[in-house]
Symmetry: C2
Subunit: 197 residues, 2 copies
């Protein structure tokens, strides 16, 4: 398994996990989205990177305009996002990623990703973006950075007799464990630093 600073997975994870608990920094109960939002806020506050979660696309059907107060949407529907959820800029590079959490202990089902998101990721990868998938195995409290090219390989394989999911061991081996950071709780820029700079 690849770990940005060369340490072994199990060791690192246990160390972090014990440290977190000892200091009361446990991630338990925080969703992956909350952790990434916290990381992004920290990155922005530190002038390190500017990365935002895109708003959920909503189709607004009816709006009511009461006198002397804000417009109220009275009928709207959630739309399927046509891109990934997060993008922005870090050290001049365009950053673009999707984040998924699974309770599955043995594999990451590819059905978690939509085909149009893969299409989007392939397009931006071609333009030179730093593109990846963040996968959290909540059962292990482990979060992995998977480069888009690895994802594409497994995604495409499923249509050629391959599996509809990626095994946990494969993700450990081909992905990068995202280190925990007190403020940037899912410190994915540390992985990008190792891979790109």
């Amino acid at each position: 398994m690849h770990y940005p600073n060369g340490r072994k997975n199990n060791h690192t994870y246990k160390t972090l996990s014990i440290a977190n608990r000892a200091q009361g920094f446990s991630n338990r109960g925080m969703t992956l989205e909350e952790d990434i939002n916290a990381a992004n806020t920290y990155y922005r506050d530190m002038d390190k990177a500017v990365i935002h979660k895109k708003p959920t696309p909503i189709q607004v059907v009816n709006v009511h305009y009461p006198k002397r107060s804000a417009a109220v949407i009275t009928e709207g529907y959630f739309k399927q996002p046509s891109t990934t959820d997060y993008n922005g800029i870090y050290r001049g590079r365009h950053i673009d990623f999707e984040a998924k959490e699974t309770k599955n202990k043995t594999r990451f089902p590819l059905a978690n990703i939509h085909e149009h998101q893969i299409r989007h990721m392939k397009s931006i990868a071609k333009q030179g973006a730093v593109c990846f998938l963040i996968i959290r195995f909540s059962a292990y409290e482990e979060t992995y950075y998977m480069p888009a090219e690895v994802l594409f390989r497994y995604w495409d394989a499923q249509f050629n007799g391959g599996k509809k999911s990626i095994r946990y061991e494969t993700i450990v081996k081909e992905g990068y464990l995202v280190p925990f950071h007190y403020q940037a709780r899912v410190n994915y820029l540390a992985v990008i630093d190792k891979l790109y700079f």
Copy 2:
């Protein structure tokens, strides 16, 4: 005035305008947003760039879940966007911009831009983004590309005794006329090509 291919403004504009009308390509009646969306779709279809409009942020307060049909948002409110409306990637560069249309014939009022958008633009410019403002003077059917640094100068000046708006002549002089293109109706990548590549 700066025009990417070195031609003079009036001449260029008249040429385009006459050509457009003659060929029935007039932009009349299309909003700036529609034109930019058309350009972005064209750029994506041609594999030229991947640039999207971000969804409007909406605060969802109440959702109704009817049996056997999609969730309906029954109470929601429009939120102030904390970033610019458009971003993406072109030839490896992070692209980020805001677009504004004005009916004003003599000046662009700075009140069209929010302070948090300027803050966002300053942060991403520091990270190395290609950052700009697209301004359309609908009375003249003219659309300008204004580099973020020019915008920052006038924005900051208003708090030091400067004007609360930018004169049309200044935009013509310090901005770049965005050429019309049959499919990419606001062909702003042509300006970026001249400025960055």
